[in-house]
């Protein structure tokens, strides 16, 4: 009896596919146990039962052998192409092992109405909802591309009408479809923020997204959207004269540096509270304030320093003549905190600093895209900015390229990252794995070991801009400055995830498990990719350890 392996050893029966026998064995042992006296034993017994039931649900190896013939092709590069696939990619295609990397809107956001049924028979109301969904995608992805521009008036009307149809459908649909619509809209709006901004509030009213705010199990997309929703509400309120921080808001919204009188008029504490508050909770609101005004408040001391402030203001005006505006921003930032220490240095240092700023800005743009300046990096995450600055300044001697450093930090961020950042991390990993698999040699293996040095992933333009967007998200969440934790993380992959991986990879269960155990297995890369993709398909269901462990 002791020869049997887990789970059968715990259940005391021979391996079987008879679920009735498994349940009976479990029931018999349970009846003979006093649960409170053997808590660990009970947990193990349940695990054994669940494992045995899972094994019983697996198809027999013989039946599956037919699927193994094309194993060589499974990870082939055959269908990878960057053309936009204009066909509607349904969920069915997602289950294919070698589906192409496709970030067209319809592939990223499969329509939630038809669900996972490959050939659904839709009612008239469902067809209307499906059409509304496609309209919504057209509005949020103009020309099939992500856009950060605000919607036009016509687009707003079209979008709101389509959203109205989707909400009405959700109200009368069953739980499954309601849930699918709820999830899909949340996901869509989070991904297309800020373009989706005007649609979030009506969707929140219908689906009570804010009701989930702050809950441990808050969905990742909603966690993001709820913060933005609260931000929008705060923005509305703070513009009312009665709001305690209204004066501070009005002051910081005014263009130009703060003058002596302004400093007397507005309480410094309120300015501080407003700035720390929005930076922590609604960082997007800072762009509504005047950057120069904010800096002048942050750099200048209190009212007592009014005189020296006036002097510095004069210096700033001189520089303004010499250097162009963007560079000056950098100089002001560098001068600010050190103040009088700079006084003795020759003026040349200022020009050098300006050049250095330009260099940093170029590096920042390479990593984060979208015209990101170094000052933005610093504002988003000062600790990361420090290392980044050091790496750029020693350029050739640097042990690692800034981009590779950012990537390494992104991978190492698992310990500190919250759920939504973990999903972003999974998105990045999927993108890299996909790129690495196109490359010859051991690029994929290197990537999996977390070794990103000298690894030119040869990303396409599209992939690069996506990577930049994802890295920006991690930067703003301040997880890139975290010290990368070494060591392995151990985690259990739940049964349904294994099933999804089997489906995606097309491997037999044995080979899959072998590849999971052995990092050097030739299947490992494909298995890792299957895991990442399976996780990304249903991030809400995945246990946090698995997300962390990716």
């Amino acid at each position: 009896m002791s020869r049997r392996a887990f789970p059968w050893s715990r259940l005391g029966i021979d391996p079987t596919k008879d679920t009735g026998a498994i349940r009976k064995a479990y029931a018999d042992i349970l009846r003979a146990t006093n649960l409170d006296d053997d808590i660990a034993g009970y947990a193990e017994l349940r695990r054994a039962r669940d494992h045995a039931l899972w094994l019983a649900a697996q198809p027999d190896v013989e039946e599956e052998s037919a699927g193994e013939e094309d194993e060589g092709e499974v990870y082939g590069l055959g269908s990878l192409d960057d053309d936009d696939d204009d066909d509607d990619i349904g969920l069915g295609d997602w289950d294919d092992a070698d589906y192409p990397w496709d970030d067209s809107p319809s592939a990223q956001h499969p329509d939630p109405v038809s669900g996972d049924d490959p050939a659904p028979e839709l009612t008239e109301a469902q067809l209307r909802a499906q059409a509304a969904w496609n309209t919504m995608l057209d509005v949020l992805y103009p020309d099939g591309e992500p856009s950060e521009e605000a919607v036009t008036h016509e687009q707003l009307e079209t979008g709101l009408a389509a959203l109205g149809v989707l909400i009405a459908r959700a109200e009368e649909a069953d739980l499954l479809e309601h849930d699918a619509l709820d999830n899909a809209l949340g996901e869509l709006f989070a991904r297309t923020w800020p373009r989706s901004a005007p649609f979030v509030e009506p969707a929140n009213e219908a689906f009570h997204w804010l009701g989930e705010a702050g809950a441990l199990e808050e969905r990742y997309a909603l966690r993001f959207l709820n913060d933005r929703l609260k931000g929008m509400r705060f923005h509305e309120k703070v513009q009312q004269p009665g709001h305690p921080l209204h004066k501070a808001w009005a002051e910081l919204s005014r263009p130009g540096r703060a003058g002596f009188v302004d400093r007397l008029r507005v309480r410094r504490l309120d300015i501080h509270r407003l700035l720390t508050g929005i930076r922590e909770r609604y960082p997007e609101l800072e762009s509504l304030l005047d950057a120069e005004r904010v800096r002048s408040w942050e750099n200048g001391g209190g009212v007592a320093e009014g005189a020296s402030n006036a002097g510095r203001g004069f210096g700033g005006a001189l520089l303004f003549v010499v250097l162009f505006f963007a560079l000056m921003r950098g100089v002001a930032a560098l001068m600010g905190p050190t103040g009088d220490d700079d006084a003795g240095k020759p003026p040349l240092a200022e020009v050098e600093a300006a050049l250095k700023t330009a260099e940093l800005d170029i590096a920042a743009d390479r990593v984060f895209g979208k015209g990101f300046k170094f000052a933005d990096v610093r504002a988003a995450d000062p600790n990361f900015a420090k290392t980044f600055e050091a790496l750029v300044s020693i350029a050739d001697k640097a042990p690692i390229e800034p981009i590779d450093y950012a990537r390494t930090q992104a991978i190492g961020a698992s310990q500190v990252a919250a759920n939504n950042e973990l999903v972003v991390r999974a998105d990045l990993k999927s993108l890299w794995l996909n790129a690495a698999r196109r490359l010859p040699g051991d690029a994929c293996q290197k990537l999996m070991r977390g070794d990103l040095r000298k690894l030119d992933l040869k990303l396409t333009d599209k992939e690069q801009s996506r990577e930049q967007a994802l890295l920006r998200q991690l930067l703003e969440a301040k997880v890139l400055s975290n010290k990368a934790e070494g060591g392995e993380t151990r985690y259990t992959i739940p049964g349904w995830l294994i099933e999804a991986m089997l489906k995606r990879s097309g491997l037999s269960e044995e080979r899959l498990v072998a590849a999971l155990r052995n990092p050097d297995s030739p299947d490992r890369c494909g298995v890792e990719f299957a895991l990442v993709e399976a996780v990304r398909a249903a991030p809400g269901k995945v246990p946090k350890e698995v997300l962390k462990g990716l």
Partner: protein, 572 residues
Amino acid sequence: MTFGMLVGIDLGTTNSAVALWKDGVPQLVPNALGRELTPSAVSLAKGGQSWVGEAAVDRMATHPADTVTSFKRMMGTASTVTLAGTTLTPEDLSAMVLRSLADDVEAATGERPTEAVITVPAYFNERQRRATRRAGEIAGLEVKRLINEPTAAALAFGLADKGDREPFLVFDLGGGTFDVSIVEMFDGIVEVRASAGDNRLGGDDFDAVLARMVEPQLLGHAALEGVSVTRRDALMKLAAERTRRALSTSEKAEFVLTIDGKSAGTMVTTEAFEEAAAGLVRKLRDPVIRALRDCHIDVKSLSDIVLVGGATRMPVVRKALTRMFGRFPNSTVHPDHAVALGAAIQAGLLSGGEGLEEIRITDVAPFTLGVNTATRDAHGVFHDDIFAPIIERNTPVPVSRMERFFTLGDNQRQVTFAIYQGEARDVKKNVKLGELTVPVPPRPAGEVQVDVRFTYDTSGLLDVDVAVPATGLTRNMVIVDEDDRRSQKDIAESRKRLEKLKVHPREEADNVAMLARAERAYEGFTGHVRDVIGHALTQFQGALETQDPRLIADARDALGQLLDEIDAQSPL
């Protein structure tokens, strides 16, 4: 071996019931009026006279300030009510109902029950559960176990034929609480897979919606002039409940308030009510989704939707359910009896009742349990109210889990863990259960490790162990014990307070209830009808004074018949 008598009690928001495991089946015990349900209502009068149940509900109309219902919603809070000069806690009030149920059992079996299994909503938090335990003790009942209401209902449902069942969903919408549980049965094992709920949603809220809906039409009415707000609200509540019930069987119903001879009424249609209640109906969806998500069960693979709780009779709720699940719910169990019957089955299990040898129940922890932790963010700002879960919700119980924490400050001398229950990331939004402090050796930040182990057993006791491996020091705290020790004195005091209250002799229950009912009717009607009631009431009181049981019974029957006839007619 002698066992005390063990009963199963459904302590509900609107109605309560008691049942026994007898002769291999669970059996409900009727109250003094011969009914299986006793309204959870209490009324007091100056001088310490008290009413519980039906009579108290009738006194709601005549003495609203001295009568209280729905006090289950206050369980676990510090609020109290003052009735006729006596201040009572929600535990005291629940204890009065429990005591009245125990009286009924004693009358039926000749033996006083000393132990009980009491049901609580699955989504009751630890504090609410503790309050329920205390209520049992005040009533002189040792609470052998608290069992979740949907679990009890599932037992009653599943034991009807003892067959295996694929996962089914118990939808329990009572007067004040809402629970959803997903349960599976095989080989005599009743396994709860997940529970979710809303402990502030029930039939009462639908009544409130109805009352709010008609209020504008009624407010200016002459009948309501000069009526105190307490009285008006009480009458509105009673009228709303009546109207809601009427709407369960017809398309429209009259919402009528009759006060001191004047009536005010308005017509309510099902359609208008459904529209007004849409917000509440939407709230029913979230717990269902949460429970399904937690146990990874697809709504399509549910074998049945079992309805429990009086509020599931509402067509508006049934309609929403049919839409949500894409099929008709199962209504084979009695929505008002299932929970008490299930409690009796659990009582039978605990006392080794015949026919139950093969049955075992496994349940889950309905809430996440954890401690507060602190971190410093990238700016060095200190955040000390982050919830670190240790036992996640819907984990099968019993369960024991350990988490490791590290000191955050250099030369920190002690670590304090506050223990919380709830689902919010911010501990301030969760329920605090207790606090535990351990001294640690002074070392640089992050070098001292503290292990926290939570053990949650089948009877709902949470045991917390904190250990510092560096010094070998351990601290232990059993959450429930801690609280009980403090409250032993309170319980004794409460018991004394309740003993002072006078209870009508049981044999008079019929008369007391009839008097209260006749008085309510007298105040509610006008003109000729009122005179008729007044006349019959005087005759009944006269019969009571003769102390002749036969005369009294005849007069009571006559009065009852009259009131039935009057109730059957529309009061307008």
